[in-house]
Every structure is written in structure tokens, then in C-alpha cells.
């Protein structure tokens, strides 16, 4: 059994929470006591259905009172075929940063469209964010088909509008499903009201789609998280570099380079849970031992000598500004790429991306909450990186305000 992480995006009234509620409810993932609570709540705050399925994901009191989703909520369910992790992200404009957050770990985006309204500005924004974050699969779920009399014509129109718009985005794998979350059409079971639709219902689609790991080259990457040094009598010389194989694989005897120092050495030993192994694949937590006694600390990269990432003090990147406080030109910040952290400064705001047309606008140098900009960043220490398009892990970073400690931006390297 494997794992699929997906995120859902849509307008406030597209019925996103209802769709998730329906998936959980119809796949028997909700316990009776939660249903009891829901029935009770639905009577006081709920809308028109017997059980307001949206209440399943609206977790915090403010959300229940206002009837909106204010933050990323994670939900879990599994079928015989797969385990699913859903990041439910709010649609309204002021929370674009949460969508970035939910989308960053997902391999599939479900973008909800209200069949009555067709493609809206928000649909475009969600798609553009999916494109920037290199989403391997995009599913456009055309919801509320019951309110357009299950019209094939309406569905075809939206499908064609979306494909026209998406052409410029370079999205890889786009699928469409007509559905009604409220009525349960094409969510878990196939709808008998849309016989013209020959595809799978949503759940079956999710169970069977072949997952492409996002933007993963086979080039091997590893960053040191922590140095294990027991310093006991019997393990006096033990010095292991603990971290995760970010991409590709590592094997015993492989020639590697430590970055940013550039020192070349060889992998002497690979340990997984204290067992020595010959080969460690992507995502395995390992402890690497090197032949030579090299000075290595947290955040350093150990990479194959024949496939080095770039190591520079300047990167061009697309960033989403996430802080309530706007960017102050010249402000000192920290850049964190996995376990590597360095002081940095935004040297130039090159352009601003129009989130509704995906065009680059001339920048006035300002960046505020939810802006997506192309920037030039200068770092104090050299950073070893790949382009985000080649590697989701070594090509992504966050920016931290040194004063407030807040995460103020997230970026993908060009």
C-alpha cells in the first residue's frame, strides 16, 4: 500500500469542504461519535443538509462561527488500495500563503470549479500556484453539476476554457471530473445522472492514479542534519553524518564531494538503523561515514563528485511573500534550504507575477502578503542548489525574518 498526498483548492463557495466531507463520509472514514457531534452542530450552525459535511474540516471555533476555512487542515483516510493525506486549503484571497503551504508537499492538486460560474480568477490563481510548485498531477473537479442539470455541454465548455488557459502554465497531467459533492455524484460512486461521462468517479481516480514523485531527478542529493558522535570508549572514533537521501541513491565506495568546501572523498560506510547497507535509496534516513576526516557540519551537502549542484552566493528565485508585514528593501533575513541556514538579503525584486494571467509585471520593488515575485537573493554563505524544476528538495527554501523569527516567504529556485 502506498501513500498519496493531495491538496484541495477552490473558492469559498465551491463546496470544497463538502467534497472532502463526502469522500470521508462515503468511504466510511468517519466514526459514529463524530457523526453524532456533526448532527448536533449541523442543527445549530449548519446549512440545509441533514449533516453539514463541511463541518468535518472546519476545525476551529472562528471558522465554525464564520462558516469559512482559515487555515490548512489535514485529513486522513485510507482504502484497501491507498493511504491518503489531504491538505484542505482555504480559497479566499488573503490566504494564498496557506495554499502554498498545503500544496508544497502534495503530488496532486484538486482544483474545484463551480459548474455555474466556470473558470474564475481564483481558479486561475490556484492553477498558477500549482504550476509554480511543479504539481505532477492536476485534477479539475467541476462541482455542483446538479445545479446545471448535469449538462454535458456546460462541462465541455469549462473543460475547454480551462485547457486554453492552462496552455501557458506547462502543467503536466490535467484531468477533469464532473461531480456534485452535495448529492454524491461521481465522488465515491459513479453518477447515474451523467452517463455521458465515461471516466472514473473521484475516489477511484485517486486510488488508481499512478503517482509521479514531484520533480525528482535521479541525481543523488544528501544534506547533513546532525552529526552523531557517541564519544564512548568503544565508539571513540565514530563520526556519522545523519540525514535523509533527498533524491537518487548513495552507495558504499561512491566518490563524493562535500559542499560548500569542495573537498572530495569516498563513502566508507552507509548505516540504516545501525545496520550496514550497500545502497540507500531516495527518502531513506541514513548515517553516512566518509573515508577522510573532513570538517563537516549541519547543512553541508554530500553529493556525487560527477554530478555537482551549483554552489553560489546568488540565486534567482520565484518567491511567495507570506508575512503580514511587507518587505523592507535591504532588510536582513535568513534563508533556510532544508537543514542549511544562512544570512541573506533580497538584492533585487526583478518582476512581479500577475497571479491571474501568469505574466511578469514590472516591479516597483515592493513585496507584500501574497505577492509572487521573481527576485535575486544574495547569501552570506554559498548555497548548494539545483533548479526547482529539477529537484523539489534542493531547489526550495524559506525566508525567515531574523527579528520576529517568522517564515516570511517561500521560494523556488530558477
Amino acid at each position: 500500500m502506498d501513500l498519496l498526498r493531495f491538496f484541495t483548492a477552490g473558492n469559498v463557495d465551491d463546496g470544497k469542504s463538502t467534497l472532502i466531507g463526502r469522500l470521508l463520509y462515503d468511504s466510511n472514514s468517519i466514526s459514529t461519535d463524530i457523526i453524532e457531534t456533526l448532527t448536533r452542530q449541523s442543527k445549530t450552525t449548519g446549512t440545509n443538509t441533514e449533516i453539514d459535511l463541511a463541518l468535518l474540516t472546519d476545525g476551529l471555533r472562528a471558522e465554525r462561527e464564520q462558516g469559512i476555512t482559515i487555515d490548512v487542515a489535514y485529513k486522513y483516510f485510507s482504502t484497501d488500495k491507498r493511504k491518503f493525506i489531504i491538505a484542505d486549503t482555504p480559497g479566499h484571497i488573503q490566504y494564498t500563503r496557506n495554499m502554498f503551504t498545503g500544496a508544497s508537499n502534495a503530488n496532486l492538486a484538486i482544483i474545484l470549479v463551480d459548474a455555474r460560474n466556470g473558470i474564475t480568477d481564483q481558479t486561475k490563481r490556484h492553477s498558477i500556484i500549482s504550476a509554480i510548485l511543479g504539481m505532477p498531477h492536476v485534477l479539475v473537479c467541476i462541482n455542483k453539476m446538479d445545479l446545471v442539470d448535469y449538462s454535458e455541454e456546460k462541462y465541455k465548455q469549462i473543460e475547454s476554457d480551462y485547457l486554453t488557459f492552462a496552455k501557458q502554465l506547462n502543467l503536466k497531467d490535467i484531468s477533469f471530473i464532473p461531480a456534485s459533492a452535495l448529492a454524491g455524484d461521481n465522488v465515491v460512486t459513479k453518477s447515474d445522472k451523467m452517463s455521458w461521462y465515461k471516466g472514473k468517479p473521484l475516489l477511484e481516480f485517486l486510488e488508481t492514479i499512478e503517482i509521479v514523485e514531484a520533480k525528482q531527478t535521479d541525481v543523488s542529493r544528501f544534506q547533513v542534519q546532525y552529526v552523531i558522535r557517541p564519544q564512548t570508549d568503544d565508539l571513540h572514533d565514530y563520526r556519522g553524518f545523519a540525514g535523509r537521501v533527498v533524491s537518487g541513491s548513495y552507495q558504499k565506495g561512491q566518490k563524493v564531494t562535500v559542499l560548500p568546501s569542495g573537498i572530495e572523498t569516498t563513502i566508507d560506510k552507509i548505516e540504516v538503523n545501525q545496520q550496514e547497507v550497500e545502497l540507500a535509496e531516495t527518502n531513506t534516513p541514513v548515517v553516512l561515514h566518509l573515508k577522510d576526516d573532513v570538517d563537516i557540519s549541519r547543512g553541508n551537502s554530500i553529493v556525487p563528485t560527477e554530478h555537482l549542484p551549483k554552489t553560489e552566493k546568488e540565486v534567482t528565485a520565484t518567491i511567495c511573500w507570506m508575512d503580514n508585514a511587507a518587505y523592507i528593501p535591504g532588510q536582513k533575513i535568513l534563508l533556510q534550504q532544508n537543514s542549511f541556514r544562512t544570512k541573506a538579503v533580497v538584492k533585487e525584486v526583478i518582476s512581479k507575477i500577475d497571479i491571474h494571467s501568469f505574466t511578469q509585471l514590472e516591479s516597483d520593488g515592493a513585496m507584500k502578503l501574497n505577492d509572487i515575485c521573481k527576485v535575486l537573493i544574495k547569501t552570506a554563505e554559498p548555497i548548494s542548489f539545483d533548479s526547482y524544476a529539477d529537484n523539489r528538495n534542493s531547489g526550495s527554501f524559506i525566508l525567515i525574518n531574523e527579528n520576529t523569527n517568522n517564515t516570511i516567504a517561500a521560494g523556488t529556485i530558477d
Binding site: 466514526s31 476545525g59 465554525r64 482559515i70 496557506n98 508537499n105 534516513p285 524559506i398
Partner: protein
């Protein structure tokens, strides 16, 4: 070409538990790398037992870069306490225990009242005190997002202010595998490495890794009060038994190991981990709903406790 085929083969055999485990180990190592004085909050329950198991995989042959810390309410099950002490001894890791009973005396607090006196609110005081005493800047906990609605919205690195408070509207965005644990002195970060695990995942992992648990997780005979809403509450020295109470002897087990006064037992025939997994797959009642009296108080009970500094 050969390489790609190999890779497909690997993907086919990939177990989602490997992915959850790798994520948790990664998070534990980030804690070790980012903080000066972290701690692992250990309760003797299955979730924190899994955390210790994951820490072994993350840091051995080295020592844990943090002590185990237990806030002992004085209402704990003896089996959990014995397990805790044995585990710390066996692993030769540092264990710090602080007692809610001591906090009640020192701070002249009002102890839990009523038929099932709860110290749930009170343990927050002890927790905040022990964080202050050792100046912990990170506290690793075994909370999972599937447990409760407020937890579903909490970050893996969850920043608390100097009063231990959680502000759900001011959470740091958390992207990719990048965790920002930077805090000012006096603040701390609660870290939840198994956020993405469900109750069933935890049991499947316990099975796969052959992790030993306190005996109360498995079915045994126990004297209980059958409450009006159908919950089975263990009879013990802290619970007042009245004449009208229906006291029954049942075959029960515990799904969570909380305080004896506010954790209900469930009737069960599950004597092994396999039995439990089978039972869970058929179970209709969620974990906290089945066993926690404290969450039933209001819809926002957990949210309020977390904002106040609770785990």
C-alpha cells in the same frame, strides 16, 4: 532502462509506513540540529513509545540529544509508570519526572473535584514549570492530527509564546520539508513528528517493529463503573463510588493511556496487536470519542486547552 525498472519494482514494494517513519526520523533530527535544549515528552502511552522507538533509529549508536520528560499527574496507571521507568533504565537515557501533586501544593491550586476528579487542566502548570526549570526550547510530543479537529490544523513545528500559548491564526507557514524552529528566549516549539499518522498507522507500525507496550492496551478483566452515557470507568482510589453506581466486571482494554480518572476502557477481546488492528478496522467510534471524558465538555475543548499551553 534497467535502472528505471528497478525503481518501479522498489515503488511497488514501498510501504507507506516507511514514508511515515522517514518523515518522523527527519523531524527528530531537525530538532536535534536546530535546538539547544530539546526534550521528549513521554507519557508511557503508545504514541510516545513509538517516538522513543523512532529516536533510537534516528540517533543510535549515539545517545538521545534530549531527556525524556514525564508530567506525572499522580492519577496514572501503574502499568504505564512501571513501563516508563523500565524503558529509561533499559535504554540508559535520562528521565525527568515532575509531579502535578507537587505543583498543586506549591502553587496552592484547587485539585480536581467531583466524581471523576480530573487533573487534565492542572498538568499544564507542571508542564510549563518543567519547561521553565530546564529552559527547554523544544518539546517533542506524540500528538497526531487525526485525533481531534484543532490538532488537524496544528503545524509539525508549533510555536508557543512564553506563556506556552498556541495562536492558531498566527501559525508559521510550513512548506516542503523545511522546518523553522527559530524562537526567542523563553519561547518554545512543540514538535509533533507523527502528526501525519493515524491510530491505525501507529498500530501497524507497532506490529511491524514488534514494539512492546504496557499491558493495559490489551484485554484484561477489570472492575469498572458503567456510567450513564455508557462509558466504562475504572474503579480506583481517586474515584468516588456511590451506591447508585453500577459496578461491573468486564473484559476491557484501553485505547489511550491517560489518567485513570478520565480515561474510559473499552470492552474488547483483543489480546494481541493483531487483534487490536482487526478491532480498529471494524471500530465505529473514534479514539478520543471512545475514551476521553475531557473532550466532550464542548466542541472547542481541545482548542481552548491548546491555546492555554496544553500539549
Amino acid at each position: 532502462m534497467d535502472y528505471i525498472q528497478d525503481k518501479e519494482e522498489i515503488m511497488k514494494n514501498k510501504d507507506y509506513l516507511d514514508e511515515l517513519e522517514a518523515e518522523a526520523i527527519y523531524i527528530l533530527r531537525e530538532v536535534a540540529g536546530q535546538f539547544d535544549r530539546p526534550a521528549l515528552l513521554f507519557s508511557g502511552g503508545k504514541d510516545s513509545i513509538c517516538l522513543v522507538h523512532l529516536a533510537l533509529k534516528a540517533f543510535r549508536p549515539g545517545k538521545f540529544p534530549f531527556p525524556l520528560v514525564h508530567v506525572d499527574t499522580g492519577h496514572n496507571f501503574e502499568e504505564a509508570i512501571t513501563y516508563r521507568d523500565n524503558l529509561a533504565k533499559q535504554l540508559d537515557e535520562k528521565l525527568i519526572v515532575r509531579y502535578v501533586t507537587d505543583t498543586i501544593k506549591a502553587k496552592k491550586l484547587q485539585d480536581g473535584k467531583g466524581k471523576f476528579p480530573s487533573r487534565n487542566g492542572l498538568q499544564t502548570y507542571t508542564l510549563l514549570d518543567v519547561i521553565e526549570e530546564f529552559e527547554f526550547d523544544a518539546c517533542i510530543g506524540g500528538a497526531r492530527r487525526d485525533e481531534e479537529k484543532a490538532r488537524a490544523k496544528e503545524r509539525i513545528f508549533s510555536v508557543r509564546d512564553e506563556f506556552g500559548q498556541w495562536d492558531p491564526k498566527m501559525q508559521r507557514p510550513e512548506l516542503w520539508n523545511i522546518y523553522n524552529g527559530k524562537v526567542n528566549k523563553g519561547e518554545n516549539v512543540r514538535v509533533f513528528p507523527i502528526s501525519n499518522w493515524t491510530e491505525l498507522d501507529v498500530w501497524n507500525y507497532i506490529k511491524r517493529e514488534k514494539i512492546e507496550l504496557p499491558s493495559i492496551y490489551f484485554t484484561h478483566e477489570r472492575e469498572c463503573i458503567l456510567t450513564e452515557n455508557g462509558q466504562l470507568m475504572n474503579t480506583n482510589e481517586f474515584v468516588t463510588i456511590e451506591e447508585k453506581d453500577v459496578v461491573v466486571k468486564k473484559k476491557v482494554r484501553y485505547r489511550t493511556v491517560g489518567d485513570m480518572t478520565c480515561t474510559a476502557a473499552v470492552e474488547s477481546e483483543a489480546y494481541t496487536v493483531d487483534d487490536i488492528i482487526k478491532e480498529l478496522k471494524e471500530a465505529k467510534i473514534s479514539e478520543r470519542g471512545a475514551t476521553r471524558m475531557d473532550d466532550r465538555v464542548s466542541e472547542a475543548a481541545m482548542e481552548d486547552r491548546k491555546k492555554g499551553g496544553y500539549f
